[in-house]
Structure formats: C-alpha cells, structure tokens
C-alpha cells in the first residue's frame, strides 16, 4: 500500500504493557495456515507474540516496543491472507461474561453432584434405617455445599431479577430467584428443626440446568457475532484524515473524532457525520433520507456518514466520529441484536408476567386453605413453599432459549448469520418471499456482453474511466481495467462520469448521458452502460449470472406454498428473462425504493407475511419495511444493518434453510411451552395437596427440563419434507 495507513486506533496495551492488536483474518481454512501465519508474523521485527484463534479467525499480535499493525497487514497480504485490525472491546466483554457463566456452571455442577450424592443417601435412608442424627449431618453438609454454591452460581439470575424488580417489571428470573432462595431458606429451617425433607438438591440442580441453557444461548450469539464482526472488520471502512501538517492519512473510520478534518474525494462515501468546511458537491443521501435526487452542498452544510459524494472533493469537519454515525451501523446493529432479546424470549417473558403472579397467588391460597382446614402454621407455610419450588419455571425458562440455540446453530452451519434475536419467530409464519434481482437472485459479479465489432480500444478506455465511478455497472466494467484511473473525473450524479482526454471528451454512464442508441445484437437481459469518446460510442451490456441454485430454491419455496415475487429497481426488460428462467410469474421492474415499500405495504395489508431478500442500498428501506429480511453478505453495509440475517456464499440455499429452520423452531418452541405448562398442570395440584417430597421435586424438575431440551434438539435436523441443505464449506469468516 503506497498510501500511509494509520491503524493506531486499534492498538491496545495488554496485561504486561506490550502493544497488542487483534486482526480479523480472511482465508484461514487449513491446519497449515496456523503455523504459516504465526511464523510469518513472528518474523517481523519487534513482534514477540502472535497467536491465531482458528475458531474465530482472529490473530492477536503483541510487540515488545511500539506496535506496527500496518506491517502485519502487509505481511499477511504477502502470505495470501486478507486482514484488517479489529476493535474487539465489546467482544472482550462478551468473552468475559461467557467465562463467568461457565465458572458459575462449574460451581453449580460440582454442588449439584455432591449434594445429590448426599440426598440419594437420605432418600434411601428415609425408607430404611437412617438415624435422625446421620440425616441431620447429611443435611447440614448439603447446606454447607449448597448455600455458598448458590450464592455464587445464582448471581446471573439474582442480578437480572433485581434489575427487573427495580424497573417494576417481571421476568422469568424473578420466580427463579424467589424459588431458589425460598427452597434454600426453608431447607435450612427444616434441617434446624430435625425434619425429614430438605430441598438443597433441587435448588442447585435448577441453577445448573438453567446456567447450561444460558451459557449455550450466550455462546451461540457470540459465535454468530464473531463471524459477523469479522465480515464488518474486513470491509475496512477508511477515511482520509488531514493531519496537522495538511497531509491526508488513511485511517479507519473508527479512529475519527469530533473536530478532525477529513477529505472526501468524488465518488467516496462520507466516513462520519460532519460539516463542510470547503468545496462544493452534490451528495446522494438516498441511504439516509430516501431522497433519490442529490443534494447540493457547500461550506457550512451538514453531511451524514454513509452519503455518497458526487462530483467534487470536500473537506469536512467531523462532528460525530466513530460511534454514533451511520457507517457504524453494522456494529450498532449487532449491539442492538445482542440487547434485543428475541420475540420468543419476549414471549417467555410475557408468559412470566402472567405466570409469576399466578404462581404466587396459588401458593398464598394453598397456605390459607390449609390453615382454614386446621393445619399448623408450619405445615401450611411448608406447602406454600413447596408450591413455589415445584412451579419454579425451570422448563419454562429453558423452553425457548434451547430451541433458539439449536436452530441458530443449524442456520449458522447452512451459512446464515442471524442478526436479530426474534428473527426466527417473525420468519416462521412467512407466506410470501420477495427477492430483489441484482446481486440477490443474481451473483454480485457480472459478466460483460459486447456488441459485434466492438472497438477494444474504446473498451479499454471505458474500463479505465469506470474506475472513477462507484456505480455497480461501472464497477463490473472496471474489473477489466488495465491501467490507472484518469485524473480529474467529474461525476454527474444520476447520469455518469466524464473527463477530458486528448482525443476529446469522454463520458461513461446512461445511454441518454452518452446520447447512444441501444444496439440490436445485445441480449435483452443485460443492463446497459454507454461510453462516448468524441463521436465514437460504445454500448456495453452487463449481464448478470443467476445464482447457481436459484431455480431449485425458488421451486422448493413454491412447493412449500410460499409465493415468490421479484421487485427490482432494474428495467422490466432485464427482469423478465431472469423471472422466466426461475419460473417466477410475479415480477416488477423499474421500482424506486418508495415503490418497493408501497408494494410491500400492499402485500402486508392483504394479510401476507412478507420476507424481503435484498442486497442493494436501495433495498435498505424495503428490508426495514418487510416483516423479516435477509441480505447476502456481499450487500451494502447499510442494507445488512436493516436485515435480520445475512447469508454467506454464492448460493441462495441459505434462504430456504432459514425458512425451514424458522418453521421447525417456531413449532418446537410452541411445543416446549406447551410441555412446560402441562408439567405445571400435573405438578401444582400435587404440591397444593402436600404430596411433593424432595425426591418428587427433583424428579419432576430434572424430568421436565430434560424433556424440553430433548425436544429442542429436534430443531437441529431438517424435518420430514424439508430438503437437507448442504452445509459447511461456505461458512468462512
């Protein structure tokens, strides 16, 4: 890289004060890569530590003195791997939480096993010849193990319950915490009174099961996040920052801070929100405002991150850098997805909102009832507590997350990264799938179609001129460019680019812009881009290649009773052949973003549940408007920010896998909630009647949890009638 790149924002200090950086590495796919990369980087001057995490495709490098991340990126490039530094602060936090949950689970597991050892002795002793002294000794021993273990391992639940109560809400953790604390408190009391029954085993076992569910849920999210984070990092959004000496340095957009001056060249995206200091241009803000006409800006005008600079260079003073800009959307989306608990979980919370008061009321009523029937206060309170323990929503709390974990894992193997936690719920009832054409049904890379007798010299010049344009058609053309881009290229927003060459004025853009005629011998399904040099004109067709398995996926969707449509911004004549090839009868072309939203709105008004699959920037609003949305990983960053899930690879199969997975998951979640409620219908009357001994409680609790978990595991495999999707080889960070 000839240009100076400043990656210092990503440098951190490790525990020993060494400079350290994490990089997302692309192309790691074999065992040999590990030593290749590590040895290659270790041979750089000053590098004292290089370790590749093969699971997450992250490389950690540490230096003894000053760090030089740019050197590492260069070295990796020469080894054949693409890499980009990575700010992993959020993920570090995540990893710490994962380790904490695992520690809690270890402690709870140890306590559950040892307390159960003692409990089984007491249960078998109770029906044979255990002496009260031995029983008391075993109970005290259980208390000694269970109380500290629960105090430690119960923290995730106690903290969450406390937060919920403080905000005057009820979540599943409130009855869980209450049940555990009551079970332990009552058991200590019973032990002190030399009674037969103590519930230490139930309390710690409950914690162990729930922690296992919570840890798995957390890990599934973390894994998806790591891959999505790598994709975002490898995108490597950069900006030209002007140093104090006026020399522009290429920095990652995360490094921008308020007050910095950045240089935005024609055709570049604005890296951060800011105010124009000098220069005049037209900016395309379709991403931000939905306005398709470019806005003219001059000194003093406000710019938003993500808008496309049109014709002239601008100097911009950053008003908000890094976080809080649109370019940061992927990161924000992921953070949002993390905190946004899925609708299914929300459903479980809704259940909790109904369930918790009902349970507490039942406990109270049974205590009063037994008192009225003449039972002692001790017995009445015991029964009330037994009701609370038996209704502690172990199965209910596991019912949804376990299915979510298993289903997300299945989709991940099929090449689908789930962004939104509630995506599975929203996807399950979908009956209409709307595809965008360009880049979604077709591959992002297009092939050129030339009319007969095309002048290769004109083509070569057109390709070089195309280097200066960010239009997708021009990008396709630019791939065949040999030689550098031309200097002083002006972009005419919405029309094309132009420059002056020795041979005359050169224009590249729409047919109208170049005053060219549509040649007769180009196939009808290609998009056209015209080049004009002086009076010579060349019309180039850019044909798209349909994704290899698109037809199979469309057929499979139709076979499942799902209506398939195409809504494209491309010309109707270009949409028709693709639609014909894929056997899709419902298609429309030439739609602007607002038109797409209108069509989606109409479909929704007719009672359809719509899934939108799109990649372009112009699809972003439509994705947000649909019930649920998917986007290929090759799509625009902002589009992916709107999408509920992103799929990787050349094939369309993940879309089908997503639908099948969501349908299975939706069914299993409902089944699981049903099972958990069934369990309560059986167990609660027993508890109210006073038949629940610790043995019954332990069996009921573990039995229902295991049943729910086993049922959830069925989400891992395609159900009968769902085609198995080839998995594996496409999931690469």
């Amino acid at each position: 890289m000839a240009e100076a790149v400043d990656y210092s924002i990503f440098l951190a200090r490790d525990a020993e004060g060494r400079a350290e950086v994490s990089l997302a590495v692309d192309g790691v796919d074999c065992a040999a890569c590990i030593s290749d990369i590590e040895n290659g980087v270790k041979s750089l001057p000053g590098v004292v530590h290089a370790r590749l995490n093969y699971t997450t495709h992250r490389l950690t490098v540490a230096w003894s003195g000053e760090g030089a991340p740019a050197e590492v990126v260069q070295r990796l490039e020469s080894l054949g791997y693409r890499a980009h530094p990575f700010a992993g602060r959020v993920e570090e936090e995540e990893a710490r939480r994962a380790r904490w949950l695992l520690r809690c689970m270890g402690v709870a597991g140890f306590a559950a096993m040892n307390v159960m050892l003692l409990s089984v002795s007491v249960w078998s002793g109770n029906v044979t010849d255990i002496t009260p002294e031995t029983r008391d000794f075993f109970h005290w021993l259980s208390a000694l193990i269970a109380l500290p273990a629960a105090a430690y391992a119960g923290q995730p639940f106690f903290q969450s319950a406390l937060r919920a109560v403080r905000t005057r809400k009820l979540n599943m953790d409130v009855p869980i915490s209450l049940g555990v604390i009551l079970a332990l408190g009552m058991s200590v009391l019973e032990t002190a009174l030399h009674k037969e029954h103590a519930y230490f085993d139930s309390a710690v076992m409950l914690l162990f099961f729930l922690l296992a569910g919570r840890y798995l849920d957390h890990e599934a999210r973390r894994r998806t996040r790591a891959v999505a984070g790598n994709i975002a990092a490898l995108r490597g959004e950069m900006a030209h920052r002007l140093g104090a000496d006026g020399v522009p340095v290429l920095v990652p957009v995360q490094a921008l801070a308020a007050g910095d001056l950045i240089l935005v060249a024609a055709g570049e995206r604005v890296g951060a929100d800011g105010e124009v200091v000098s220069g005049a241009s037209a900016v395309d803000e379709a991403l931000i405002t939905g306005e398709t006409l470019p806005r003219l800006v001059g000194p003093g005008a406000t710019l938003y991150a993500g808008s496309l600079n049109g014709s002239g260079a601008l100097t911009v003073r950053v008003t908000a850098g890094g976080e809080g800009t649109l370019i940061d959307d992927v990161q924000r989306l992921l953070d949002g997805a993390l905190s946004a608990r899925g609708a299914y979980v929300r459903l479980a919370d809704r259940v909790a909102r109904l369930y918790a008061p009902m349970v507490h009321l039942t406990a109270l009523v049974s205590a009063i009832g037994w008192l009225a029937l003449g039972a002692s206060v001790h017995d009445a309170v015991m029964i009330a507590v037994a009701v609370l323990i038996i209704t502690c929503p172990c199965a209910l709390a596991l019912a949804v997350p376990v299915v979510q974990v298993v289903a997300t894992g299945r989709l991940f193997r099929a090449g689908l990264l789930v962004n939104a936690g509630d995506m599975l719920e929203r996807l399950a009832p979908v009956d209409t799938v709307v595809f965008d054409k360009t880049g979604t049904l077709t591959l992002p890379e297009a092939v050129l179609r030339l009319p007969q007798g095309a002048d290769p010299r004109l083509l070569a010049l057109a390709a070089r001129l195309a280097l200066s344009s960010r239009h997708p058609l021009a990008t396709a053309l630019a791939r065949s460019a040999q030689g550098p881009a031309f200097a002083e290229v002006e972009e005419v927003a919405g029309a094309g680019v132009m420059t002056r060459l020795p041979e005359g004025e050169a224009r590249l853009g729409s047919l109208a812009f170049c005053e060219a005629q549509m040649p007769a011998d180009l196939p009808a399904d290609c998009s056209l881009i015209a080049f004009r040099l002086g009076d010579a004109r060349l019309v180039i067709g850019i044909a798209q290649q349909v994704r290899p398995d698109a037809r199979a996926v469309v057929d499979a969707l139709t076979a499942r009773g799902i209506a398939v449509r195409i809504l494209s911004g491309d010309r109707p004549e270009a949409v028709a052949p693709v639609a014909g090839q894929l056997g899709i009868a419902d298609y429309a072309g030439g739609l602007r973003p607002a038109d797409k939203i209108a069509v989606l709105g109409q479909l929704k008004a007719e009672g359809h549940r719509v899934c939108m699959v799109g990649d372009g920037l112009n699809d972003a609003p439509a994705l947000a408007a649909a019930d649920v949305s998917l986007s290929p990983a090759s799509g625009a960053a902002v589009t992916q920010a709107q999408a509920d899930a992103v799929f990787i690879g050349q094939r369309l199969a993940p879309v089908l896998a997503a639908l099948d997975g969501a349908r299975t998951a939706g069914r299993l979640m409902r089944e699981n909630l049903g099972l958990a409620i069934c369990y309560n219908f059986i167990a609660v009357p027993l508890a109210v009647a006073g038949y629940v001994t610790p043995l019954v409680a332990a069996l009921a609790m573990s039995g229902s949890s295991i049943l729910v978990t086993l049922n959830a595991l069925r989400a891992a495999k395609p159900a009968a009638g769902q085609e198995p999707v080839a998995m594996g080889e496409e999931v690469r960070a």
Partner: protein, 61 residues
C-alpha cells in the same frame, strides 16, 4: 457409621479437585479456541528441529 468420617471428605475432595481442574482449564484459556486445538496437536513446531541442526543451517550460504 465412622466410615463416613473419611468417606465424606474423600467424596468432597474428589469433587473439589474436579472443580478446581475445571476452573484452572477455564482460566488458562483452554476453551478459547476449540477448533484450533484439534489442529495444533498435529503440528510439530514445539519439538526441537532434530533433522536439521542449527550448525548445519548456519553453514548454508
């Protein structure tokens, strides 16, 4: 029942050993890269380079 006097501590001790082993493995980062561990075990770069001695390597131009 005097047997309990040593059986219970043994049972608890074994459990605690397991717990501490787990906590140690967690702390030393053994769960950080589960896929990589499967490959690293096959690579030999932790062994001294026996076939080629350092002296020999130095003697090469």
């Amino acid at each position: 029942m005097t047997v309990l006097l040593y059986l219970v501590p043994i049972a608890l001790g074994l459990g605690l050993i397991g717990l501490f082993a787990f906590l140690w493995s967690l702390k030393s980062g053994q769960y950080e890269d589960l896929d990589g561990a499967a490959f690293r075990v096959l690579s030999d770069d932790d062994l001294p380079a026996a076939p080629r001695s350092p002296a020999k390597r130095d003697s090469r131009p």
